[in-house]
Symmetry: C2
Subunit: 181 residues, 2 copies
């Protein structure tokens, strides 16, 4: 196998933010040439596919500033410091939907955009939702609406690009492939 | 419907790079409070699911600096200035795999990480590949290896997390759901 790795010779920290940091690495390529790599550091994320007793999927509708538009997505959020993905998934489910569960099953994980970011997202599914008696307070700068859709309705949302992000498009295709709804 | 939009009151440009830019927006939330939004600007991307005559999927193996690891991915790349996604997809297919095609079919598009980035990726599929007689030169800072796998082999790569990114995990699930391989 050819060596295709890149060796870091210098890291410049550009920005440290609330959600992401940015750094630019100088690297040596396999042929000895040099190049710059722009790298967004992210703590990682979780997403949940919540299925109700009557086989509806629970989504959140949220304004996404980077896109200047509102998307319908499965509940998700970033990992807190030292938080395990499974714990984060239950926390986000509770904060965003008002449901909780005792059983979350792992579906998959993937890097969202490996060319420039290290964000890794873990996706879970549950069909054993219970309504929380006391709602949990989420992030105070998040304004979301809950929306419950059948799989057919969700597929229509994909067609109309109301659902239009990696984790949620994956979730709809996953439920379609599963063939249980 | 509640108003859940956010109004920009100030944009601070932090970094302008080769692949991405970073800006931080001050926004007014629906309740009148203020918040900061960290936004990565990206030109958009394309990816191709290339299927050979003997029903193998053509992947590229590439070192991903943000992850400090090598991933196996479907061919992909960012849009050049004013480039249409379909043209970009054919260009990337030619540059990265040495194949071309006269027929690419649209599969889906999605934002990869709508919480902090505006990257939109378009995914195409083709099973009418032709070997280029003269290879096309791609980016000179990209070192890639071509690898052709059956769908079953690719699923094993997903299990082993050698395939581990949004567009490629989506592609494997898509081919699985299609049931033709």
């Amino acid at each position: 196998m050819k060596n295709i790795e890149e060796k870091t010779i210098h890291t410049e920290k550009i920005y440290e933010g609330k959600i992401i940091d940015l750094q630019v690495d100088d690297v040596v390529l396999p042929d000895g040439e040099k190049a710059k790599r722009e790298i967004v550091k992210h703590p990682g994320a979780v997403a949940i596919i919540p299925i109700t007793k009557d086989k509806k999927i629970v989504f959140v509708k949220q304004y996404r500033k980077p896109l200047e538009k509102t998307l319908v997505e499965i509940p998700a959020g970033k990992l807190d410091d030292n938080e395990q993905p499974l714990a984060a998934a239950i926390r986000e489910l509770e904060e965003e939907t008002g449901y909780t569960t005792k059983e979350l099953n792992f579906v998959t994980s993937f890097y969202t955009s490996p060319g420039f970011a290290d964000e890794l997202i873990y996706i879970y599914i549950t069909d054993t939702l219970e309504k929380l008696e006391t709602p949990v307070q989420g992030d105070d700068d998040e304004f979301i609406e809950i929306i419950e859709l059948t799989l057919d309705e969700a597929k229509q949302y994909v067609e109309e690009e109301k659902i239009h992000d990696a984790k949620t498009n994956y979730a709809i295709l996953y439920l379609h492939a599963l063939g249980r709804m």
